[in-house]
């Protein structure tokens, strides 16, 4: 039986290696400097890139963070400081449930509230859909990190005459900041590759656009469009896009890990 357990571990690690190696091989051959700066080209014309989609994804991440981080951190503070009130129990449970809801549903939600009433797709709606997905994730990690702050630290501040709110914001929140940054980065890494909610909101764009009121290109959307097209040239571009997207996601995840390590060292 133990052998079976070892086999399961091996079988699990295999597809990841297969995916990463294949992605590197396919993506690297199609990747060049143009890819990062040029606009998508029509079929038949060589070259072209996903410059607009890369910028678009960064803008969407920015809007999502602007919406998701303050709400998530505020709600997390509440859960950590009023941990056993009835409202805290309910919010904690609902945050976990919200976290598990399909991203496509969050897309429909943003579409019905922000796209349909104004009759056109927009970067803002896309960013808000992604931001809404970040809220429960950031809430729960913030709560965990704030709870780790030792009580004596809080008591010391209160004994010095600090009011509750100043203790929370300038002592507790600052001590937990490293962990909160890590949680935020993990949440950003997860929404950076989201495609489904953007179908209903950001929609995609073949041109340069940085306006929040207009449809905007995004890397995952562009990869999807190219992957299901019948053209080899677009398939190659899709692989290059996938490599860049996975690169961005892994870089953010790596930054999150470095932030954790840094924090642990600071505590030693």
């Amino acid at each position: 039986m133990q052998a079976l357990v070892y086999l399961a571990a091996a079988v699990t690690v295999l597809p990841l290696l297969a995916i990463l190696l294949y992605l590197l091989k396919q993506g690297a051959t199609a990747l060049n400097a143009d890819f990062f700066t040029a606009l998508p080209q029509p079929v038949g014309e060589s070259g072209g890139g996903m410059g607009n989609a890369i910028i678009g994804t960064l803008i969407l991440i920015g809007v999502a963070s602007g919406v998701g981080l303050p709400v998530g951190i505020g709600a997390g503070l509440y859960l950590a400081e009023r941990r056993s009130t009835r409202l805290a129990m309910i919010v904690r449970f609902l945050a976990d449930v919200l976290n598990g809801l399909p991203s496509i549903v969050m897309g429909i939600f943003a579409w019905e509230l922000l796209v349909r009433p104004v009759h056109h797709f927009s970067a803002l709606a896309g960013g808000i859909a992604l931001g809404a997905m970040m809220v429960p994730m950031v809430t729960r990690t913030t709560e965990e990190m704030v709870r780790l702050v030792p009580t004596p630290l809080r008591e010391a501040a209160l004994a010095l005459g600090y009011s509750n709110w100043r203790t929370s914001l300038s002592i507790v929140l600052r001590t937990a900041l490293g962990g909160i940054v890590t949680g935020a980065l993990v949440a950003i890494a997860r929404i950076a590759g989201e495609t489904a909610p953007l179908l209903f909101t950001a929609f995609g764009n073949q041109f340069w656009s940085t306006s929040l009121g207009e449809p905007i290109a995004a890397l995952p959307l562009q990869i999807f469009t190219y992957a299901i097209s019948p053209y080899d040239q677009w398939h190659a571009q899709a692989w290059a896009g996938a490599l860049v997207l996975v690169g961005i996601v892994f870089l953010i995840s790596l930054a999150a890990r470095v932030a954790v390590r840094h924090r642990h060292r600071a505590e030693d």
Partner: protein, 310 residues
């Protein structure tokens, strides 16, 4: 010693963080309200028949979600069937058996699987998994294992299929199930293991008879969290399942899931009713995943509590 005005500051601070906390229940209510509002015209036109009819004909104004509901359940079940034993194996390996130097790298690799975006899994599935299934796995299942005669593997194998969707979903939900299982296994108290070992149980017997039963409801919760993911997973499935309104007993036939149906037809919806029918499918998906997730969280929470009390 209190600074003047601190009372006011505290009250404002309380009020602000409470308001942020209230955003979460409000958001959930808004999600339900928005999806229900968008789904309303279709629900009013078709009522209960929407759930059981398999007639999806936009030009005739007929919509039934049965094939998509069927496809969602079959592809998710297939995914769990493949992923659960593997994920449990990895979790047991990491928490009980692995030498310490191996734990970190293997856990990191499994976590990385969760970080790869859905659309990248879809891309890999289209160009690697589907050809692999068509040229090697399906001939093996049919000719070597003689399963071709069973309805499950009957009919032609074009490529995109329920099987392909199930396999990619399995790879995608595996890290979620194994992460929760690992957490639950580590919440099993030491005394539980020591008691079994003291009675003369081997390491394997300890895991089987003392650790796993204790962690059972938490593991079931982890599997259900994986189920929640699988039910709503969109992009990879849209790219691999073949997108056809059809209920077929064969896993090699193309199908639809609720999420892939919405994603695939949204941009080409032919009218208000078609659009609303898609949103009604979204509402079914929302209710289903809400129930599955709520149940899963409750199960995991219960185990965590039992493990926390000595």
């Amino acid at each position: 010693m209190r600074v003047a005005g601190a009372g006011v500051g505290d009250r404002i601070y309380d009020w602000v963080i409470t308001a942020f906390a209230l955003v979460i229940p409000i958001m959930l209510v808004l999600v339900f309200a928005a999806v229900a509002e968008a789904a309303w015209p279709a629900l009013r036109s078709f009522g209960f028949w929407f759930l059981v009819s398999s007639d999806w004909n936009p030009s005739a104004g007929q919509f039934g979600a049965a094939p998509a509901i069927f496809g969602t359940i079959v592809s998710s079940a297939l995914a769990l069937l493949i992923a659960t034993p593997l994920a449990l194996g990895v979790a047991v390996f990491l928490s009980e058996l692995a030498p310490p130097w191996m734990r970190q790298p293997v856990a990191f690799t499994v976590d990385l699987l969760a970080a790869i975006p859905s659309v990248v899994y879809g891309l890999w599935g289209v160009f690697v998994l589907v050809p692999l299934l068509r040229e090697h796995v399906i001939p093996f299942l049919r000719d070597t294992l003689h399963l071709g005669a069973t309805p499950l593997f009957a009919g032609p194998a074009y490529g995109p299929s329920m099987l392909a969707a199930g396999v990619i979903l399995a790879i995608m939900v595996l890290p979620y199930i194994s992460a929760v299982s690992r957490e639950v296994l580590s919440a099993v108290p030491r005394s539980q293991r020591e008691a079994a070992l003291a009675l003369g149980a081997t390491r394997w017997e300890t895991i089987r008879d003392a650790v796993l039963p204790y962690a059972r409801s938490g593991i079931v919760g982890g599997v259900m969290l994986g189920l929640g993911r699988a039910l709503g997973e969109t992009m990879a499935v849209t790219m691999l399942i073949g997108n056809r309104h059809e209920i077929s007993a064969s896993l090699l036939a193309p199908g639809y899931t609720m999420a892939s149906l919405i994603a695939n037809e949204f941009s080409e919806a032919t009218g208000e009713l078609h659009l609303s029918a898609l949103m009604a499918v979204g509402l079914i998906l929302l209710v289903l995943t809400f129930v599955v997730n709520a149940l899963a969280r409750w199960l995991v929470w219960r185990t965590g509590r039992a493990g926390g009390a000595p």
